[in-house]
């Protein structure tokens, strides 16, 4: 059962990364690209978590926490840049 769940999660993360990359490359406006980058960060967090489970090393989860901090900070900073607040 757990194996099936892992496979489903891997497929979902793969398709999420793929869709984010497509939006990043094609993205019409800058805002589209920033939204795609935020999504790609979240997908990277889940990818690291999945790999930490697969390899059995839970020290990798600290890196995912750093990504969580960065995800919030990055979008906030770019948004403040556009509203002329930086």
């Amino acid at each position: 059962m757990a194996d099936v769940i892992m496979r489903v999660a891997a497929v979902l993360i793969f398709s999420g990364l793929f869709a984010g990359l497509i939006r990043l490359v094609l993205g019409r406006t800058l805002i589209d690209r920033i939204a795609a980058i935020d999504m790609l960060t979240v997908m990277s967090i889940s990818l690291i978590t999945l790999y930490a489970h697969l390899s059995g090393r839970f020290t990798y989860l600290d890196v995912a926490l750093v990504y969580g901090v960065l995800s919030f900070l990055g979008v906030l900073a770019t948004a403040r840049y556009f509203e002329n607040g930086l």
Partner: protein, 123 residues
Amino acid sequence: MGFPPVSHLVLATGCSLVLIGFYGMLTHRNILRIIIGFSLIDTGIHMILVATGYITGGTAPIIDEALSLDAAATRSVDPIPSALVVTAIVIGLSVTAIMLAYAIRLYETKQTLSLDAFTESKW
């Protein structure tokens, strides 16, 4: 599996990233874009260094429940490139910061960032 080994993939990506950054540095005339190319080269070199430290099927050299002290010699990856790259990343940030500060100073004197405007400093 027809796949090449994992470290070869990362090595090839790092080398391509160095080439991409080099191309960007050579073609663009905007100083900020040249700095972006420089940081791409930086990232590529870090990837090359980390990839040379990978051992087939290795895991992180951190001793805990998942990796006992006796198994570390056979299962862990090479820690020396990792330690070098950690210092290299911080130095890369310092170099980028200095270059950006010079870019800001140049902009304050000439009100432009194009390389074509700074003709008197060419030699």
